[in-house]
């Protein structure tokens, strides 16, 4: 494999990844925005997090899998509950991982 070619590709990847990350904070930080835009931006966090999460839970292997063999989906229920109760990052991560590991140990899923 041509490592030189990959290196060039990496710098291109850096550029196209960094520009969308930096331009909005660079141009919008602290600037007063129209109310509608400001409201819209406030809904971006829940929307984008859910848009990344739900497909990972219901189609972990690329096909829709809403059933009891889908550990990703099953473990999400207690993880959601723990996240809701504790409002902390650690507890749901450990709960989810522990349950998935346990289920696999028992040969489930």
């Amino acid at each position: 494999m041509d490592q030189q070619r990959i290196l060039i590709g990496l710098f291109g990847m850096m550029l196209v990844t960094y520009l969308p990350r930096v331009l909005p904070v660079w141009t919008l930080a602290g600037r007063a925005l129209p109310r509608a835009v400001e409201v819209w931006l406030r809904y971006v966090p829940p929307a984008v997090l859910a848009a990344m999460l739900l497909p990972a839970l219901v189609m972990p292997e690329g096909a829709l899998q809403i059933n009891f063999t889908n550990l990703y989906l099953l473990a999400a229920i207690p993880a959601f509950f723990v996240a809701w109760k504790t409002r902390n990052l650690f507890a749901p991560v450990l709960t989810g991982m522990a349950l998935v590991a346990l289920a696999r140990l028992l040969g489930w899923g």
């Binding site: 494999m1 490592q3 070619r5 990959i6 290196l7 060039i8 590709g9 990496l10 291109g12 990847m13 196209v16 960094y18 969308p20 990350r21 930096v22 909005p24 904070v25 660079w26 919008l28 930080a29 602290g30 600037r31 509608a36 409201v39 819209w40 931006l41 406030r42 809904y43 971006v44 966090p45 829940p46 929307a47 984008v48 997090l49 859910a50 848009a51 990344m52 739900l54 497909p55 219901v58 829709l64 990703y72 473990a75 999400a76 993880a79 959601f80 996240a83 409002r87 902390n88 990052l89 507890a91 749901p92 991560v93 991982m97 522990a98 349950l99 998935v100 590991a101 696999r104 140990l105």
Partner: protein, 241 residues
């Protein structure tokens, strides 16, 4: 560095603020070491040199795009198509950056530039949750981001170096660290009915688009539609959420 008016952080020492930021990133560290490891294993198997494997984690620092790029490099795809795919896959950060920008009032340009370099799905989730109740403290934020990136690079190195030793991470459920972290990050964003409705809509739309084969556009389109729904509901009911 010009520091904006702080709430509680002002009363603590710089060392305590730095440690606080590092501690807050610990769940991200678990996820990043694991997924970085998987990335390192894959990159190594695909034939990327150690230098390129780690450089990608340092200068691109974008989980899913790195996995896709490794696959494309291995398949001998044209560089332009690899770069274009990376652009589309990472375009969602444009929306994250815009949504976090209003919170960073008073930050100087170099601080904003550095912040943006380490703006990932996970650091975004962490900060947008935290900023809802705290004034952003640059020291705290940079400590969290740097900790996350060091974990990502370290995981990549471990995977590329010792990937042969662990053939399957599934028994340890390490593959579930990231989904579980997103659950926690999402829950932090749920404040009342409208945000729950927006999240549900965005999740369903994204899943639908992915099933329709639009994997690379699903997240950004679902986010735009979800946020528009939220804005519509809020302006229509004319009530703060």
């Amino acid at each position: 560095m010009e520091v904006p008016e702080l709430l509680e952080e002002k009363t603590t020492t710089p060392a305590a603020r730095w440690l606080g930021g590092m501690a807050s990133a610990m769940p991200i560290v678990i996820g990043y070491v694991t997924i970085g490891f998987a990335y390192g294993v894959l990159a190594n198997k695909a034939g990327l040199s150690m230098f390129n494997t780690l450089l990608m984690s340092v200068i691109v620092f974008a989980g899913s795009a790195q996995f896709i790029a490794v696959g494309l490099f291995a398949a001998g795809a044209p560089l332009l198509s690899i770069i274009a795919t990376t652009f589309v896959v990472n375009l969602r950060h444009l929306l994250m950056s815009a949504s976090i920008a209003p919170k960073l009032q008073g930050w100087r340009k170099p601080a904003l530039a550095w912040f943006a370099f380490e703006l990932t799905d996970e650091t975004f989730g962490l900060h947008s949750g935290h900023f809802a109740s705290h004034t952003p403290d640059p020291l705290w934020v940079f400590a969290a981001n740097l900790t996350a990136q060091v974990a990502w690079v370290a995981g990549s190195w471990l995977g590329a170096s010792f990937g042969q030793l662990i053939t399957d991470v599934r028994p340890y459920a390490l593959d579930y660290a990231l989904p579980a972290m997103f659950i926690a990050l999402l829950v932090m964003q749920l404040r009342g009915g409208k945000t729950i409705l927006v999240a549900a809509a965005a999740g369903v739309i994204s899943t639908g688009l992915m099933l329709a084969g639009l994997d690379q556009w699903s997240v950004i389109l679902a986010t735009i539609l979800g946020a528009t729904l939220g804005m519509g509901l809020e302006l229509w009911t004319n009530k703060e959420s």
